[in-house]
C-alpha cells in the first residue's frame, strides 16, 4: 500500500543524508554551472585563424589582391611561406600550417588573356572536419572574389538566418550541454548514492521496513531532483547573462519537461545500481552508459551524419529528445503542438525506467 506519510519520512531521511554531506552537495551543484559556462565559451566548431602559408610566384597586383581576399576576414592568417612551392607543401605535411596556397607564375598572364587563373590550395587533412570547413570557407571567399569584377551576379541566393541570426555557437551548445551534464551527474549521483546502501548493508534494513519499493525509490529521487532542477535553472541564468541565450518559449512547459527528464536520468542511475554490487562497478557502468548517450544525442556530433543504424538507435536515447525539446523551446519558442512526439518519447522512457527499477529494486536481495 502506498502511504504518503511513509514517503514523507523517507524523503526526510534522504534530504538529511544528502544535505549533511557538504562535499557531495558542492560536487552536485558546482560542476553543472561551471561546465555549461566554460564549455559554452570554449566549444567552437567555427574555425577561424587557420594558418596559411602562401607562395606567390606571380608577384603581380592581381595575385596580391587574391591573397588579400583570403586573409582579409582573419579566417586565414598568413604564416611562413614566401619560399618555394615545395617548402609550403612540406610545412602542410609536418602540420606546422593548416593550409598552403600556391599562385603559379603564369597567374596574371592567364587572367589578362581572359582565361581562369589556376591556383593550388592544400589542406592538412589530419583533422578532416577542420579541413572540410576550411575548404568551404575558401570556396566562399573565391566565389565572392569572382563576383567582384562581374557586372551583377546572374543568380544570387538571398539567405536569412532564422532563430540565431548572429550565429552564436553557444546558443547551439548550451542546450546540448545542459542535457548532457544533467544526464551524467544525475546518473552517477543516483547510482552511487543507492549502491552505497548496499555497500554499507543498510539496504536490507530499508527493504525490511513496510515501505514499498516505489516509496523508497521516490524518496531517493526527491532530493536529487530538487538539486538538479536548481542546477538547471542556475546554469540557464548563467548562460543568459554570459551568452544572452534567449528563452522564447513557455517557462512552465520547459520546467515540466525538464522534470520528466531529470526523473528519467535519476531512474536510469538507480536501475544501474541494481545491477552492480560495488561502487566501482556502478561508476564503470554509469560512465559507459552516459558517454555513448551523450555522444549519440546530437549534442556535439550531428545525428544526420551517423550511419543509418545508429540514427535509428538514437531514437531510444532520452537525451536526444530532451535536447531537441530544449532547442525548440529556448531558441524557436514553439509549443507542445510541435514538440509532442519528443515529449511523448521522453515520458514513455521515464515511466519505463522508473517501473523497471522499482521491480528490480525489491529483488536485489535474492
Amino acid at each position: 500500500m502506498f502511504s504518503w506519510r511513509r514517503l514523507l519520512v523517507l524523503l526526510r531521511k534522504e534530504f538529511v543524508q544528502i544535505l549533511g554531506n557538504r562535499q557531495v552537495l558542492y560536487i552536485l551543484l558546482f560542476p553543472p554551472i561551471v561546465q555549461v559556462t566554460i564549455l559554452g565559451y570554449a566549444m567552437n566548431p567555427l574555425v577561424k585563424h587557420l594558418t596559411i602559408a602562401v607562395v606567390d610566384e606571380s608577384k603581380t597586383p592581381a595575385s596580391r589582391q587574391l591573397i588579400d581576399a583570403f586573409t582579409a576576414n582573419r579566417v586565414f592568417v598568413p604564416q611562413g611561406g614566401g619560399g618555394e612551392a615545395a617548402s609550403v607543401y612540406g610545412a602542410v605535411q609536418r602540420g606546422t600550417v593548416d593550409a598552403g596556397l600556391v599562385i603559379p607564375a603564369g597567374y596574371a598572364q592567364n587572367l589578362a588573356r581572359g582565361e581562369p587563373g589556376d591556383v593550388q590550395l592544400v589542406f592538412d587533412g589530419v583533422n578532416t572536419f577542420t579541413a572540410n570547413l576550411g575548404a568551404g570557407y575558401a570556396s566562399l571567399i573565391v566565389a565572392d572574389y569572382n563576383a567582384q569584377g562581374a557586372p551583377s551576379p546572374p543568380l544570387s541566393p538571398q539567405i536569412t538566418f532564422a532563430y540565431n541570426p548572429g550565429l552564436i555557437t553557444a546558443w547551439f551548445f548550451v542546450p546540448g550541454l545542459l542535457g548532457a551534464i544533467l544526464l551524467i551527474t544525475g546518473l552517477l549521483a543516483s547510482a552511487s548514492e543507492s549502491v552505497r546502501e548496499k555497500d554499507e548493508g543498510t539496504l536490507e534494513q530499508l527493504l525490511m521496513t513496510p515501505a514499498s519499493s516505489l516509496e523508497v525509490l521516490l524518496a531517493k529521487i526527491g532530493p536529487l531532483f530538487v538539486l538538479f532542477l536548481a542546477a538547471l535553472f542556475a546554469s540557464l541564468a548563467a548562460s543568459r547573462l554570459l551568452f544572452a541565450l534567449p528563452f522564447r518559449g513557455n517557462v512552465l512547459l520547459f520546467t515540466g519537461i525538464s522534470s520528466i527528464y531529470i526523473v528519467a536520468a535519476i531512474s536510469i542511475g538507480i536501475l544501474i545500481s541494481t545491477f552492480a554490487a560495488t561502487q566501482q562497478q556502478v561508476v564503470l557502468i554509469s560512465i559507459f552508459t552516459a558517454l555513448p548517450l551523450m555522444m549519440l544525442s546530437g549534442a556535439f556530433a550531428p545525428i544526420e551524419s551517423m550511419p543509418p543504424f545508429w540514427q535509428t538507435l538514437s531514437l531510444v536515447n532520452p537525451l536526444r529528445h530532451y535536447i531537441t525539446i530544449v532547442r525548440d523551446i529556448l531558441l524557436k519558442g514553439v509549443g507542445l503542438d510541435v514538440i509532442w512526439p519528443d515529449v511523448l518519447a521522453l515520458v514513455a522512457f521515464a515511466v519505463l525506467a522508473i517501473s523497471i527499477s522499482a521491480t528490480r529494486y525489491r529483488s536485489q536481495l535474492r
Binding site: 567555427l46 587572367l111 589530419v126 569572382n146 546572374p154 555557437t169 559507459f288
Partner: protein
C-alpha cells in the same frame, strides 16, 4: 623509497583488482565497447541535411537547381507543398532550411534580369547553417552560369586538395582521438576508487600503521594501475587496427613513450582526487564527470583547440589528453615522428611530475585528515 615495498603494494592492488571479476570484465569490456560505438557512430562531417524546396517556377532551371543540390553530399532536397509558410516549416523542425524558387526565375535569368532565390535557414546549428549557405551560393553560381544570358566566366579556379586522409576516411581522424579519450577516462576512475576505497573502509589505517611511506604507497598503486591501463591501451589499439585498419604512419617510438606517460598522468590524477576526497561518491563525481567532460570536450577530440578563446587554449595545456591526441593522430595519420611531437611528449612528462607531487602532498604525513 624501498622498491620491494612498492612492488608488494603493487601486487596487493592487482590481487584486489583481480578478485572482483565483474570489475575486471568492465575495465576491459567497457573501453572496447566504447571504441566500437564511437568509432562507428561519430562522424562530424556534415551529410544529408534535409532542406525543403518550394518550387513555384516548375521549369527546367528549377529541376536542375534541385538535382544540383541533391548532388552535393551535404544537402538533401525535400519537396514541400507550396501553401505552407517557410517559417512554419522550420518550426516543425523536419527541414533545416527552406528554399523558395519564385515563379518566372528561368525567364528572368534568360532575359538577363537579376533573379533572387530566397532561403530561410535554421541557424540553431551554426555549422549546418554555414554549410547550407556555402552549398546554396555554389549551386547558384553553377546553375546560374548555365541559364543566364551573359554569364561572366569565373576569374579564379582553385584546385583544392586535402592531404593525408585521402578518401575522406573520417574513422582515421576519430579513432586515434577515441584512444586518448578512453585512456583518459578509465584509468583515472579506477585509480580514484582504489585510493578512496581504502579510506572509506578504514583499511588505510593499516597502511598508516605500517612502515610504508606515502611515496611508496602512491608508487605501488600507480604501478599496478599503469599495468591495467597498458593492457587496456594494447587491447583498444589492436582492435582499432583490426576493425578500421588504423596502423602506424611513421615512427612509432613517440607513441610508445607517450602512452605509458599519459596513463601515468591519468592514474596520478585519479590518486590525487582519491587523496583529496573522503567518500567514493564524491571521488566518482570528480573523476567521472569533470575529468571525462573536460578531456572529451576541451582536448580537441571534436573541435580544434585553436578555435577556442585564448584563455581556454592556455587552460587546455594542462589537460594531458590534449597532448596525447596530437601524438596519436601523428603516429597513426600524419607520421611526422619526433620533430612534430617532441613538445607534446615533454609536456606529458611535466604534467605527470606535477601530478605526482600533488598526489603525494595530501598523503605525505600518512594520517587521517582531520
Amino acid at each position: 623509497m624501498n622498491l620491494r615495498r612498492v612492488w608488494v603494494q603493487c601486487m596487493k592492488e592487482l590481487v584486489e583488482f583481480r578478485r572482483d571479476r565483474l570489475t575486471v570484465g568492465l575495465a576491459f569490456g567497457l573501453p572496447v565497447g566504447m571504441l566500437l560505438i564511437f568509432g562507428f557512430a561519430i562522424r562530424l562531417q556534415i551529410t544529408n541535411i534535409p532542406v525543403g524546396v518550394q518550387d513555384f517556377d516548375r521549369s527546367p532551371f528549377s529541376r536542375d537547381f534541385i538535382s544540383r543540390i541533391n548532388a552535393s553530399q551535404e544537402l538533401v532536397a525535400v519537396s514541400e507543398p507550396l501553401d505552407r509558410s517557410p517559417t512554419a516549416l522550420l518550426d516543425e523542425g523536419n527541414v533545416s532550411a527552406t528554399i523558395v524558387i519564385p515563379p518566372g526565375t528561368q525567364q528572368a535569368l534568360e532575359a538577363g534580369r537579376p533573379a533572387p532565390v530566397q532561403s530561410l535557414v535554421d541557424a540553431t546549428d551554426v555549422v549546418n547553417a554555414l554549410t547550407i549557405k556555402q552549398i546554396l551560393t555554389a549551386t547558384c553560381v553553377f546553375v546560374g552560369a548555365t541559364y543566364a544570358s551573359a554569364a561572366a566566366a569565373p576569374m579564379v579556379a582553385v584546385h583544392e586538395r586535402i592531404w593525408f586522409n585521402p578518401g575522406d576516411n573520417e574513422a582515421l581522424f576519430i579513432v586515434p582521438g577515441v584512444y586518448a579519450v578512453i585512456l583518459a577516462m578509465y584509468p583515472t576512475i579506477l585509480a580514484a576508487i582504489a585510493m578512496v576505497r581504502d579510506k572509506e573502509r578504514g583499511t588505510i589505517v593499516q597502511a598508516y600503521a605500517s612502515r610504508l611511506r606515502a611515496s611508496e604507497l602512491i608508487a605501488g598503486k600507480c604501478l599496478a594501475l599503469e599495468c591495467i591501463g597498458l593492457v587496456e591501451a594494447l587491447a583498444i589499439m589492436a582492435i582499432g587496427f583490426a576493425v578500421w585498419g588504423v596502423r602506424f604512419a611513421g615512427d612509432p617510438l613517440p607513441l610508445l613513450i607517450a602512452t605509458p606517460l599519459l596513463i601515468c598522468c591519468q592514474v596520478l590524477l585519479g590518486l590525487l582526487i582519491g587523496a583529496r576526497t573522503n567518500t567514493v561518491t564524491s571521488a566518482i563525481q570528480a573523476s567521472g564527470s569533470l575529468n571525462s567532460l573536460l578531456s572529451v570536450l576541451l582536448s580537441g577530440f571534436l573541435y580544434p583547440v585553436f578555435a577556442m578563446p585564448a584563455f581556454f587554449q592556455w587552460l587546455s595545456f594542462v589537460i594531458p589528453t590534449r597532448h596525447f591526441i596530437n601524438v596519436t593522430r601523428d603516429a597513426f595519420v600524419r607520421g611526422s615522428g619526433w620533430p612534430g611531437v617532441w613538445t607534446e611528449v615533454l609536456a606529458l612528462a611535466c604534467i605527470a611530475a606535477v601530478l605526482a607531487v600533488g598526489a603525494w602532498l595530501p598523503m605525505r604525513r600518512m594520517q587521517m585528515a582531520d
